[in-house]
C-alpha cells in the first residue's frame, strides 16, 4: 500500500492522530471486560448446559459487533472510492476490511471456545449463523486475494467486490431469524436477555473492541502514511 492517507477524511485523521489514546483506553476496558465477564456478570443458566462457559459470550459479542462495524467502514469507503476515485478511500477500505477479518477471527475463536464447552464441538456446520459468518470471513479474504492478484488494476474491482460482499453482513446478522439456528438468541427479540448487569458488561466489551479497532486503524493509517513518505524521500535522496 503505497498511497498515504491525506487529511481529506477528518474522522479518520482524528483516529490516525489518536491511535495510542484509543489503544490505551481499549487496554483498560479490555481488562475491565475480563474481570466483569469472568467474575461479576450474572450467569445465564437458562437454556445453557455449560453456564460458566456462557461467560465467553461477553468476550465474543464485542469483537462480533466490531467486525460488522469494520466491514461497514470498508463498504462505505469502497462506495466513496467508486464515486470519487479517491485513493485514500480505497486505502481506508482495505485497512478496515483487514481489521474486520481480525475481529471476525477473534469472534470465531471465542465462539469456538464456547461451542466446545456447550456443544462438545467447536463448530457446527448445520448452524446457519455460524456458516453465514464463515462465508462472510471467506468473502473478505477473497477481497485481499483479488487485490493481490490484480495488482495496480485492483482497487476498482476490489471496491465493487467489497460493496457486493457487504450484503453478507445483514444476512449474517439476521440468519438466526431467517433459518433454523443453534446459535443462542440472548439479546435478540425472543431471547432471555442479559439483565442490567450483563448489559453493562456488554457495553464495556463493545467499547473495548471498538476502541481497539479505531486504535489499530489509526496505527495502520499512520504506518501507511510514513511508508509513503519514506518512499518519496528515498526517491529524492536517490536523485
Amino acid at each position: 500500500m503505497e498511497a498515504a492517507p491525506s487529511a481529506a477524511h477528518p474522522p479518520l485523521d482524528f483516529v490516525r492522530r489518536n491511535a495510542l489514546p484509543f489503544l490505551s483506553s481499549s487496554a483498560a476496558l479490555t481488562v475491565a471486560t475480563f474481570i466483569l465477564a469472568l467474575l461479576w456478570a450474572p450467569t445465564l443458566s437458562q437454556g445453557f448446559s455449560a453456564p460458566v462457559a456462557q461467560r465467553v459470550f461477553y468476550l465474543h459479542f464485542g469483537p462480533a459487533i466490531t467486525s460488522y462495524a469494520a466491514f461497514t467502514v470498508a463498504f462505505a469507503y469502497s462506495l466513496l472510492y467508486l464515486r470519487k476515485g479517491d485513493g485514500d478511500a480505497d486505502l481506508i477500505a482495505a485497512h478496515s476490511a483487514a481489521l474486520g477479518l481480525l475481529f471476525a477471527a477473534m469472534t470465531i475463536a471465542a465462539g469456538a471456545l464456547w461451542g466446545a464447552a456447550e456443544w462438545g464441538v467447536a463448530w457446527r456446520f448445520e448452524d446457519a449463523r455460524l456458516d453465514m459468518y464463515l462465508v462472510l470471513l471467506l468473502t473478505f479474504i477473497g477481497y485481499f486475494a483479488l487485490r493481490r492478484q490484480l495488482g495496480s488494476g485492483a482497487p476498482r474491482l476490489a471496491a465493487l467486490y467489497a460493496v457486493a460482499g457487504y450484503a453478507l453482513v445483514p444476512l449474517s446478522y439476521f440468519s438466526i431469524y431467517l433459518w433454523q439456528s443453534l446459535h443462542p438468541r440472548v439479546i435478540s427479540p425472543g431471547g432471555q436477555g442479559v439483565g442490567a448487569g450483563g448489559a453493562l458488561v456488554l457495553s464495556v466489551s463493545i467499547a473495548a473492541s471498538l476502541f481497539l479497532f479505531f486504535g489499530l486503524l489509526g496505527l495502520r493509517l499512520a504506518v501507511s502514511e510514513v511508508e509513503a513518505r519514506v518512499a518519496r524521500l528515498q526517491r529524492e535522496a536517490d536523485v
Binding site: 479490555t30 475480563f34 460458566v52 489499530l216 513518505r229 524521500l233
Partner: protein, 213 residues
Amino acid sequence: MSAGQAVLALGALALLLLLPGSASAGFVTGSGAERTAHLFDPVNGVNVSVAIGETFSGIAGGSYRFVLHGSAGTAERPYRVEVVVSPGSETEARFNDTGDGPAGALNTTIEVAIRPGALPFTLANTPFAVELRSGAGALLDAVEFAVDLRYKEPPADGGLLNLALASAALWALVFLYALRLHFTQRKLRARTDALERSIQGSAKEGSADDHNP
C-alpha cells in the same frame, strides 16, 4: 408446462394428500434445557409430555420423566414409553419402562432411567427419539430430535480458568500486533528523519560548492 404435465403434477399432489401420512403426530417445543417432546394417543385421549434437554451426561446418567395427561374420556390402560438412542442404526440403544395411564382427566408419570455409564460417548447431535407404545408394544407415537452426549468430567470450576486463559491469549495477540505496528511506525519515522537530514545535508553541500570558486 404442458397440460399433461400439469394433470400429472395435480394427480401426484392429490395422492400425497389422500394417502395416510405417518402415524407420528409428535413434536418438540422450546429449546435448550426447556425443550419438551409431545406425544399423543388420540384414540384414548392421552397426550404425553417429556422434558428433553439438549445434552445428556453419560457419566452422571439421567432420567426422562414422561407425564401422561388424560382427558374426560380417557380409560386407564397400560403404556410403555421408550427413549431410543441412534434409532434405526447398528448402535441403537433402547431404554424403557411401563406404567398405567390416567383414568379420566388426570396425570400419571412413567420415568425412564438411564444408568451412569450406559452411554459412554462424547458426541454432538446424536439422534434420539422418544416413543409412546401400548402396553402390548404397538407404536402409538414417536418424535425424533438430537442430543449432545457428554462423557467428560467437567473441571471443578466449570472450565472458567481454561476459558479465561484462552481468551486472554487471544486478546494479548491482538495487542501485541498493535505494539508491533507502533514500533514499525517509530522505526519508519526514524528512517524518515535520517533521510530528511541526508537530503538537507546534500543540499547544503551543493549550495556550499556553488559559493566556493
